[in-house]
Symmetry: C2
Subunit: 344 residues, 2 copies
DNA sequence: AAATTTAACGCAAACGTTTGCATTATGAAT
DNA sequence: ATTCATAATGCAAACGTTTGCGTTAAATTT
């Protein structure tokens, strides 16, 4: 098990050169002649020399790795973001280390503590649901570790953010329902303690208002975790509403699918009697019948953008920008669940 | 940005102690008196001392991190495995660094090369689809890095593996169809170059054979990537089969759902006319109507088992076991798609 | 021919922590 | 009073790489 591996010094001895020369030769330093460079590289190849990246990291104080803190890896949205991060980071020669907070504040605090150990050069994070105050992240920033948040971003301090325009997307979705002729439009909202769900609700309301549609509080159902099961119960409530709904915009796809199924069982024709729109473009949305109209939140691209931003922050010597917020363009994907056959 | 952080030496000077004493005090070494231990710890707290884990890793040759190589992070199965890995690793004080091969052999080779840089103490991997020979992983093993494969494991060299009994699970699923009265059972098979799909096909065949059901090659459709779309086309082929099928076992959930939808459109009643079973217990399987009977492949538990195994290998001084294969128990989840209303 | 530049490489320190061994002080045993 | 064990701490090297600066020899200029 314990093989002592070849070091740069070994190479040096073998070639009768100084370690510094080896180091520079392998790093293509201009002050080394081409001749010795190839000599060194050949010998390195021959002896299967593998540089000790830990020693290197230690010496230059650069680990070329970034930490990612997500609520849960197995939530499709986050796995897409991570994929985007890895994709970009890999290209740039960075590797990514993952932590899941499991939406627990305590665990998130633990993680931020761990991340202070010089392990990572930058941190990308999505706040845990439980997190209201993010001082633990401030500590990271304080010791000079660049920080980028995505999706659920802190509201209590300035920082780099990758977000989508939840308000705009919700507005667009709701207005689409209005445009196809819906008059009684409901909304399944997420927990209002979280900014993105608040924004989606506001977008919904704004679209109603702009188009002169009345708004009743009964048209909104609040869900805590937007699970499929919660969606079912919200949908059943909607069924009992005083007048029949003809459109529902849901804060995510799972609840939207609940609505489809519940209303179908109640003999509603989708989309003719009721049009439905979800949020996130989960794989299931193009499989469920009718296919679900939804918002493509471009999770993968968010990840890429986050990685790009954090790496720029890491590498730029002179950071002039104190903080930056990027809003990724969303897209309304219109599918069957909002295509009425009757003319409008 | 560039704050020079407090080091262990600084602490030592501050307290008029030797660095070695500080190190030992913080590490609760028995040879240090309780008095100085608390003195040191208090000062450390006061000055917000954060140990430099890179320096530590460098000195002790232990990084406490494990590398994970997956085809794609955003495939639900893998994100669940990663979640399981992170969960266990985190508890044990390890962190996990993720790489995606994107199912490309070249990229996988690049990654294994990177992983030789002393960065990680162990590697957990699932082979890329393209990978037939896994010499690049042998290199890792050669330099003493413990290796654990999961799901798609190499067949060309001995190594630690976390698998499920694909044969047994397929056998159980098929036999369940037989038990509820199916006589003409089809199978949508995955690429036969991959061991797990081969085993699922074999399990299907074995169940037919054991129960005296005839087997026709027309009962099997081969898919390359088992996508939803491929499933649709396989299902349409099945519709044209000389005699009507009454049961179909699919190598994954997506194709099973295609089958449900295609046959429903052809006015089949599911499960009465046709019973269907998928594989993997994807979230969609409990949402689609009728709910899909499927195999729980326990991805999360596989991840946990892989992490447990790799950490044991890392920490055990005397590794007596050369290689170990763990087979995780699967579970047939019976849902509506295989519950016939007529008695059998 | 002497002075100066340039090219190529070596020296040695440094990064922050850990650890085997040595040292000192303290109390116990002879 | 001396020896011996024990407890608590210090010394210094080591881990492998990088880097500023010094050195040498060759090439160029005056």
């Amino acid at each position: 098990m314990k093989k002592s591996r070849i070091t740069l010094k070994d190479l040096a001895k073998e070639l009768n050169l100084a370690p510094s020369t080896i180091s520079r030769a392998l790093g293509d330093h201009p002050a080394i002649s081409e001749a010795t460079k190839t000599r060194v590289k050949e010998k390195a190849e021959e002896l299967a020399f593998i540089p000790n990246s830990i020693a290197s990291s230690f010496r230059r104080k650069k680990t070329r790795s970034i930490g990612v803190v997500v609520p849960r890896i197995d939530v499709h949205f986050h796995s897409l973001v991570i994929s985007g991060i890895e994709e970009y980071a890999y290209k740039k020669g960075y590797n990514v280390t993952i932590f899941q907070s499991k939406d627990s504040l305590t665990r998130e605090k633990e993680i931020t503590k761990i991340l202070q150990n010089n392990m990572v050069e930058g941190v990308i994070a999505c706040l845990a649901i439980e997190t209201k105050r993010s001082d633990h992240f401030k500590n990271l920033k304080k010791i000079g570790i660049p920080l980028v948040f995505y999706d659920r971003v802190p509201s209590d301090f300035e920082s780099n953010k990758i977000v989508i325009n939840d308000f705009g997307a919700a507005f667009q979705a709701t207005e689409h329902l209005i445009n196809i002729g819906c008059k009684n439009i409901g909304h399944i909202a997420g927990p209002q303690t979280t900014g993105i769900f608040k924004a989606r609700l506001e977008g919904y309301k704004a679209a109603l208002k702009k188009n002169g549609l009345p708004f009743h509080s009964g048209l909104i159902k609040y869900a805590n975790n937007l699970s499929y099961e919660e969606g079912v119960s919200c949908a059943k409530d909607f069924l009992k509403y005083k007048e029949p709904l003809d459109g529902i915009f849901c804060a995510n796809d799972y609840t939207a699918i609940s609505v489809i199924q519940v209303f179908q069982k109640a003999d509603y024709k989708i989309p003719d009697d009721l049009s439905i729109i979800g949020f996130s473009n989960y794989p299931i949305s193009r499989i469920i019948e009718p296919n679900l109209t939804t918002i493509n939140d471009r999770a993968f691209e968010m990840g890429q953008a986050a990685a790009k931003l954090i790496i720029r922050q890491i590498e730029d010597e002179e950071v002039l920008i104190d903080s930056e917020t990027q809003s990724i363009k969303t897209e309304l994907i219109i599918r069957e669940s909002s295509m009425k056959k009757r003319a409008v």
